[in-house]
């Protein structure tokens, strides 16, 4: 065994830290990751995307031929971890551009699609920003229930239907859309396809959904007779379910380093706060911080195990679900303990982070209000637990 990162990874870590110190405002912190919420943050995120693209980091995981660096999984982990710790925005190109749209296109897309979309994502420009539209009002955890339809007419698909909880749709230029192309199927997993839609198309309407704490992160997206060229079909018609399982795998695999880096930053912010406020005298707080440190280190090492398996070309089956559930449990606990440590100040609105009464730039409150959403996104904890049960423990299907 060897629990050290290699020299290459450590060098990269150093470079990212230098980049963060040079490029981020001096009082920047991890609280500001909700980049799609405000125009001001979004604009800053996009300037960072361009800089990351120039460094070659934005799509470092991609092969060189598609504008990447062919970075190892370990380098990607270090990059994600550091970017999250320092709160470098603009790393994802909307929801999924870098992490799963690109890799899925490489796997299933036509030459034409690859040539058009991959360089756009790798450029870090606003024209490379994506949203991912899977969920519908009646297709949440039961995702195969989708009813948004694409009907072929000559060289075009005509798309009608509604998507919901579509994060960053209000920032995205393109939509990675799951649709039904066949209704006459014996199983609902059949007849699904993936189509790329230009968000500027006629008939696309984005309606904001505001969350309980005032964030504008996700949206409803309506498709009314939206016409899309058949060349925008990704992979094969009606092969969408199979393709999307790969995309979801990319999605779950990409977040582990980021989640860890984010939690680690908030823990360190809390430790510093506890020191400055002389709260380390309180045994209760000391022990809570100790528990958090254990959870977060466990989170890191589990994520590393998943990556280690992938690096040995062992296809992880339940591990990403395990890591996601454990992250959600860790983040929730961190948010609760963090707000307890901040005490009455944790009542502040994290979106008003410039208020003189806001502590730690609102990062603890932001975690508190956003962590339930993270626990639901990309598969609820209950769905992930089903995957762990079925594939990690070989138990019978429970739903």
């Amino acid at each position: 065994m060897d629990f050290k990162f290699g020299e290459k990874e450590e060098q990269l870590r150093k470079e990212i830290r230098e980049f963060a110190k040079e490029e981020l405002p001096p009082d920047w912190s991890a609280a500001m990751l909700e980049e799609e919420n405000s125009d001001e943050d979004w604009e800053f995120a996009m300037t960072m995307s361009r800089k990351l693209a120039k460094k070659g980091w934005l799509t470092m995981s991609w092969p060189v031929e598609y504008g990447g660096k062919g970075a190892s999984l370990w380098e990607q982990f270090v990059y994600s971890e550091e970017a999250a710790y320092w709160g470098i925005p603009g790393v994802t190109m909307g929801v999924g551009g870098v992490d799963w749209v690109g890799p899925s296109l490489m796997m299933f897309g036509s030459e034409e699609l690859k040539k058009k979309y991959l360089p756009l994502i790798a450029s870090g420009e606003p024209d490379g920003v994506w949203c991912t539209a899977y969920s519908e009002p009646n297709a949440g955890s039961d995702f195969a229930n989708i009813r948004t339809r694409a009907v072929r007419e000559g060289d075009e698909y005509i798309i009608n239907g509604q998507k919901i909880w579509t994060s960053a749709a209000h920032r995205a230029r393109w939509c990675w859309l799951a649709v039904r192309t066949d209704f006459n199927v014996s199983k609902k997993h059949q007849g699904i396809s993936v189509i790329i839609v230009d968000m500027k198309s006629k008939g696309v309407t984005v309606r904001p959904l505001i969350n309980y704490a005032g964030y504008h992160l996700f949206n409803e997206v309506f498709f009314d007779d939206v016409r899309v060229s058949v060349t925008n079909l990704v992979g094969k018609e009606n092969n969408g379910w199979y393709q999307l399982m790969h995309s979801l795998g990319f999605e779950r695999g990409s977040v582990a380093g980021r989640f860890y880096g984010y939690n680690r930053r908030i823990l360190e912010e809390l430790i510093q706060y506890t020191k400055e406020k002389h709260l380390f005298r309180q045994k209760e707080i000391r022990h809570k911080l100790a528990d958090m440190a254990i959870m977060i280190e466990t989170q890191r090492i589990l994520a590393c195990e998943t990556i280690w398996k992938m690096s040995k070309e062992i296809n992880p089956v339940y591990e990403p679900s395990r890591d996601k559930v454990f992250h959600d449990q860790t983040a929730e606990r961190l948010a609760i303990i963090g707000t307890e440590i901040l005490g009455m100040y944790s009542q502040m609105d994290p979106l008003q982070r410039k208020s003189k009464w806001t502590k730690l730039k609102g990062c603890v409150e932001a975690l508190y209000w956003l962590s339930p959403g993270v626990a639901i996104a990309a598969g609820t904890d209950e769905v992930e637990m089903n995957i762990i049960g079925q594939f990690g423990l070989n138990l019978p299907k429970s739903y």
Binding site: M1, D2, F3, K4, F5, G6, R17, S29, W74, Y85, W86, R265, E268, E269, I271, Q272, K275, F280, K283, R286, H287, L289, A290, D291, A293, I294, E297, T298, I301, L302, C304, E305, I307, W308, R322, V325, F326, E382, M385, N386, I388, G389, G392, L393, N394, L395, P396, K397, S398, Y399
Partner: protein, 383 residues
């Protein structure tokens, strides 16, 4: 980063698994519960033959010259089998002899340990029931021939079969509690030693050991006089992570048997493992067990590589204490009423929750150590 075992470790794991299946069935675990010595000479000799007793002892002293990390593999398998012979006790005393013993002490003890001729027992804790340095009140007074030890040690594992104790004493009462502690290697046959097995629920041979004017020659001091706490600290850290490995093995076994039961037990015409209430509990157990596994390996690897490891060790032990208990409690409950019985093998693991938790530091003890480290931590963003 690489999480693979070495080839040696793979073989060790396989051998240990086979050894336990062959020599250490659950029927023997139950038999040993009722046995006064808790010892089986033929098994001990077989362990010596396999080189386990001298695994970390250099070849020059008759050992194998293996790595600390290898021990983790071994203890994980032992925990899995509910192994109870005094291997753990002996290793905890072997490690400090290796690191702090004089050449003479090494020559005297190490070859005999490796050959299976010697069982050692760590006489550290007392009725004060703490691993903090203030808990050590057993006195050792110097006279012209050596030292005279007086006091009571409690929760001493395997004292009933030990040939020798590694005993922590107070030789100086002034100053902070960690000063003035001296360790002695004490022949168990010395006049004045009284040993009584105390009735623990795990039947894991913990003893009260009374030292009544026990004479020890000066040459039996391990390390330096009054500087023994550093060695205790060394033992605590290594012992804690080895205990984690043992507990990890236990949680793996409990999860496995509970998972199997959930697949076999049918109610409402379905295996109970198909119900989410049960399945999600098992999934949570898996998450916790795997977390414990890699946290333990990580801590042990840092020790083995000579890197700072105090924080990781305390993290691993706190986690082990929680996970072992949680997995056992949920395991019992998933089994339903049969989980409440002695005849179920799970019971053998469950009855050890407390003896494992309080060996080498409970959650409060280790959380305190973690908090001290965190307080010293300079956040990355402040540097």
């Amino acid at each position: 980063m690489d999480l693979d075992f070495t080839e040696t470790q793979d073989i060790l794991k396989k051998t240990a698994r086979e050894f336990m299946a062959r020599y250490y069935p659950k029927s023997l675990v139950r038999e040993l519960k009722k046995d006064r010595t808790g010892f089986r000479d033929e098994i001990w000799k077989e362990m010596a033959n396999l080189g386990w007793l001298g695994w970390i002892i250099p070849e020059g002293y008759g050992g194998v010259g293996g790595d600390f990390m290898d021990l983790i593999v071994l203890f994980e398998e032992m925990g899995r089998a509910c192994f109870i012979l005094p291997f753990f006790s002996t290793v905890m005393c072997t490690l400090p002899i290796l690191s702090a013993g004089t050449e003479e002490q090494k020559k005297e003890f190490l070859p005999r340990i490796a050959q299976g001729e010697m069982v050692l027992s760590l006489a550290l804790t007392e009725p004060s029931a703490t691993y903090e340095p203030w808990g050590i009140t057993t006195k050792a007074l110097a006279d012209k021939d050596g030292y005279v030890i007086d006091g009571t040690k409690l929760f001493i594992h395997d004292a009933q079969v030990a040939h020798c104790f590694l005993c922590a004493t107070r030789t100086e009462t002034e100053g902070p509690p960690e000063d003035g502690i001296t360790l002695f290697l004490v022949d168990a046959k010395s006049p004045g030693i009284g040993i009584e097995v105390i009735p623990t629920v795990a039947h894991d041979r913990q003893c009260e050991v009374r030292f009544d004017r026990v004479r020890v020659p000066r040459s039996n001091v391990l390390g330096e006089v009054n500087k023994g706490w550093d060695i205790v600290e060394f033992i605590l850290q290594r012992g804690a992570v080895l205990k984690c490995a043992e507990m990890l093995g236990g949680t793996e076994a409990v999860l496995e048997m509970t998972n199997n039961y959930a697949k076999e037990r049918v109610q409402f015409d379905k295996p109970i493992g198909s119900f989410q209430a049960i399945q999600h509990k098992l999934a949570q157990m898996l998450i916790e067990v795997e977390g414990l596994r890699y946290l333990t390996y990580e801590a042990a690897w840092h020790i083995s590589a000579g890197m700072p490891s105090k924080l990781l060790i305390s993290m691993a032990k706190t986690k082990a204490n929680e996970v072992y208990q949680r997995v056992c409690l949920d395991g019992v409950k998933i089994h339903g009423a049969v989980g409440f019985t002695e005849e179920l093998d799970l019971s053998l693991y469950f009855i050890r929750t407390k003896s494992s938790e309080f060996a080498l530091g409970d959650g409060g003890f280790h959380r305190e150590r973690i908090a001290c480290e965190l307080e010293q931590l300079q956040p990355l963003f402040m540097r």
